[in-house]
């Protein structure tokens, strides 16, 4: 079976491209990272790809607003190609800074921002950068989606601007677009939302880092888990998310 192809954006302050490529390969993709200049100069890179990943990092030093200038740069040159890519049912995943970029590109959440900017990722309520592991809940009926088969998982977050806010009068309008919730409040995010996706479930943005949990010994309590006999032969949750992505890519 031919592996789906994934392209991971690199450069301009992105810094998780290597481990994201590593995770995608473990998940079944044929993956490589491309420098943003190369992507922008040859827009046809998307033609042969099934998944585009905007990984974590500090694009443009997180100046102005996280992900803002990267979004501007991509959309000023590749708006049509990206829109076409999404229309063709291809996948886009934005992780952390990549999520912030997708929201600024108004690809998320779904069509809610078609008319005007209504959703943002802003400074954590505690106004500090936070690197910690968090408990997450996956709402039911995610079959065929990125979080299929997952219910309660743990992943690390590493961000200073992860609080979802909206100017929509009906804040609940966002809920159907959220496939992942923090079990407890982490950063003041609206309704404890940790991720957003589009209507079709093909474009996903998430603050937690799935690529940082593709090996059991990445978990901060792996020592105890091992001693207590936890099954390390199956895949950790982060890797399962990439495996799911690979399944979706095969069928799209």
């Amino acid at each position: 079976m031919v592996s789906p192809r994934a392209i991971v954006l690199a450069g301009d302050g992105v810094n998780c491209e290597n481990e994201t490529v590593h995770a995608l390969r473990l998940g079944g993709f044929e993956a490589e990272s491309h420098h943003v200049s190369r992507l922008l100069s040859t827009g046809d890179f998307l033609t042969n790809s099934d998944l585009l990943v905007l990984p974590g990092g500090f694009s443009f030093g997180d100046e102005i607003q996280s992900g803002k200038v990267l979004a501007l740069k991509i959309m000023s040159r590749l708006k049509e190609e990206i829109e076409d890519f999404v229309e063709r049912g291809k996948l886009i995943i934005g992780i952390c800074n990549g999520f912030q970029a997708l929201v600024n590109m108004r690809l998320l959440p779904g069509n809610l921002q078609r008319e005007r900017k209504t959703v943002s990722l802003v400074h954590n309520e505690q106004k500090r950068f936070l690197d910690t592991w968090v408990d997450l809940d996956v709402p039911p009926s995610q079959e065929g989606h990125f979080f299929a088969g997952l219910e309660k998982i743990q992943l690390p977050v590493r961000h200073g601007e992860g609080r979802i806010v909206t100017s929509l009068p009906d804040e609940d309008a966002l809920l159907p677009y959220c496939p992942l919730f923090y079990s407890e409040d982490v950063n003041g995010s609206l309704a404890r939302m940790a991720a957003l996706q589009n209507e079709e479930g093909t474009v996903l943005g998430m603050m937690p880092h799935p690529e940082a949990y593709v090996r059991w010994t990445q978990h901060p309590n792996w020592n105890s888990m091992k001693i207590k006999g936890e099954d390390f032969s199956c895949d950790p949750p982060g890797l399962l998310i990439f495996r799911n992505a690979c399944q979706i890519a095969r069928h799209s």
Partner: protein, 994 residues
Amino acid sequence: MNSLKNTLNPDNTEETVALLRFAVIDKKLNSSTDTFELCWVRFSPERIDEKELLKCLSEVLVDDCYQKSDFFMGSMDFAWNNQWLAQGFKWWAEKQFLPGVTDNLAHTIKEALVLLGGEEFNNIEVASGKGFLFNKSFASKDEIIEYSQYKLFHPLVEKMVVHDLNKLDSPGELLGYPKVKFKAETSKELVTVDLNLEDSKLEELSKNRLLALSLQEMQEIKKYYQSDKIKKQRSSKNLPAMPTDVELEVFAQTWSEHCKHKIFAADIEYDGKKISSLYKTYIKGATNKIRKKRPDLLSVFDDNSGVVKWDEDFAVCFKVETHNSPSALEPYGGALTGILGVNRDILGTGLSAKPIFNTDIFCFAYPHDKSLPQRPKLLPPLVIARGVRLGVQDGGNKSGIPTVNGAVYFHSSYRAKPLVFCGTGGLLRIEKDGRLQYAKHTKAGDRIVVVGGRVGKDGIHGATFSSETMHEGSPVSAVQIGDPFLQKRVIDFILAANEKNLMTGITDNGAGGLSSSIGEMAGITHGATIDLDLVPLKYPGLSDWEIVVSESQERMSVSVDPKDLDAFLALANDYNVEASDIGHFNTDGYFQINRGGRIVAMLELGFLHDGVPKLSMQAEVHTYKASESSYKMPESGQNYNDALLKLLAHPNISSRESIIRQYDHEVQGASVIKPLMGPHLKAPCDAAVIKPILSQKAGLVVSNGLCPQWSKYDAYLMATMAVDEAVRNACCVGVDPKTLSLLDNFCWADPIPTAKNTEGAKRLGQLVRSCQGLYDACVAFGAPLISGKDSMKNDFDDGVVKLAIEPTLLISAMGKMEDSDKAVSMDFKQTGDLIYFISAGDASVSGSHYSEITGTQDNKLPRVDLKAAPKLYAKLNKAIESGLIHSAHDCSEGGTAVALAECVIGSGLGAKIDIEGNEFALFSEGPSRIIVSVGFDNQASFEALWKKTPGVELIKLGEVVDSKRLQIGSAIDLSLQDMLSAWHNGVSDIFEVN
């Protein structure tokens, strides 16, 4: 592509220039959120359409979801004032960077404007700042400035102005665009410096020009220029007989203590014996002694970092630097440039290495100690601690390099100067396409290309103020702010260029700038010529010598084969990095610098690099007379709950979570042992383990050791304790001790004895003893030193108060474990596990933290048993390798009771210790002490392992229980919650700032 190109021409007086003020305000701004963003845009209305500019600015800066904007072509208007008055404010203030200070936000705004509006926007200038609102609880502008200083702005790099909202201030009263202006045109004439002076005048010259050259060194240079050979040589090349200002500055830089390590190279008389170079005798000496057993040492002491073989294909490298003086002046910028600087050391190793981890160690004065001296030139310790922490956060996080390990140590002596140690490790191939990657291959004919940031007046003469009197338009030269984003682009580019084999050599521009980087690389081919006209500048008006010694950040110097030059420059363009061909390497024997079509410096490399006269000094003998113990153990049966809680809350012992959580310690996806682990993420691990190659099992271990509390008694002991601690920390997580490599970082107060420096001889004696301790410990552990650094002027003297730091030696360790799946964290794992205490050497209450809080003393000091300790660590490794133990934790600050408490806190479980805890056993501090927990099943094989280990003691303490309490005989009985509260909040108010 470059945000700094084509800025408005200051000389073009024909052009009218307009200034736009643009404010971005949170829609929900209220008295609890009282700041807003400000920026200043300077543009020519003839070239830029104002409407288009505003449209682009709005799109770039404003998020309609939660922000609104306001703009002003002149000054702010009544509507502006009234909206704030209506919300109950009385004042508004604005701040911006001083002219010439790196403004990262402004660079990004401009780049975004160009992306959106096109190349024409390259012709605008942008400055960023912030606005603040204050209510009537402030009575005057001065009161606001006083309140805001160091809290909201730092006067060395920023300016803040306050406005009364009941009054409209004119444009002149508002902050304008912070334009760099020079009072006078720089001289077009070649400037020479007459050295035909008597000694006192030579000294004065060195002082006035901030050359920091001693009289002996000035005389040496004078003699050199007076020699017939040089006179003849110079006249034949049409050069003036006396040195040009550029030449003198290059000498000063090359011969600086910072670059030449003159103290460590000096002849020192100690206790009737002559030591010819501490460095050669003890530091390199230790490595040479061990080297035969360590074929993995690929490049030590030669390059920007020490390089060690990792496996058949890869090597790892490691370097730790200090950035003390800059951090004392401007803590944020000082620490930020410190971490970015050591990242460049890794990037500049061999043909470039990829930075894979950071480790940072800070030494601060106690932030809340009101008894410490307050002097106008000493920043408050709290300001220093917070600024340094934030600088390292931005430096590490934004570069995508995980901060995997670190330490913070408080001692009142660091009031003289904070110590900021920044370390970085890297990964490189051993060989690629037939070239060794850990060596330089620069050859004559190669082009000299500078890559990255532009050159400005920043960082000229390091941390001393420029001789130019500060005036309104002076660019700030004493302190610098780094640009982690620019440097990340540089790192990406350099690694890509090396992938394509486009470089023959590379080094970083740190201290000394081009003078240092090109001067050093010229040594490879024995000659280099550069043209200053080709060096990209931040702004015009820099004199020749300033361009040569400027320490402007984020720059690398690269040698490129001429055939690869076009490809190299094209790739730089793709990566949005500026690269400029400024000259070539040759075999002429000179470092030649041209500008404006003529030679401005011609330096003979032989004399430049080897001409510095050797220092000769006499050290005072430094010994501690070991005496009988004067310690009297209190009667048994006492309770020590309060003492333990007090120790857990001690700034040197309490949880570092408030710092760790703000550092990205997991990026690159390689972490195995993280700074905090366990079921509740509270377990403070002794060392870090990462997997440099994600697909392989092997783990790289990183740890540190620092024990300045014993310096005042015995610097030899301090050094052996520091080595033991670094080794012990690494061994606790499972390193193979046979693979350990060490780095030394000496931070001392001035040890050069002079009439003025009466403490010099004593400090020099301490330095000698610490080097001897370092040598003995390295040899005993079989752990070679691979790189190091010294910072020897950590004192303060403003004519009123004299302060000096305790002699401080940081030992950083790096090693390997073949299977990182066997790494252990320090938290107890399950109930029923047995708890053991393993130790070698002697402990003492002297120097302990218990002694600090109670005053208990002893004449007898701790002792490292250099015979037994290596055996202890080898067996510990065997135990971890065979999976016999579930946790291991070193006992350091606070002693055994604190270590046990930490193991309990980390586990969320409890421990019951059956042995009666006496004061000495609980709180004394010493070397080679480890708490381990062992599965019940493994008791016999674990205990058998320690038989026949002379000098090592194994004691079974008790077992892990589910009580959520720590019970030690009748001495201690505390709940997990009480211990956690004390431990958790010790320093959080210092480091958790919104």
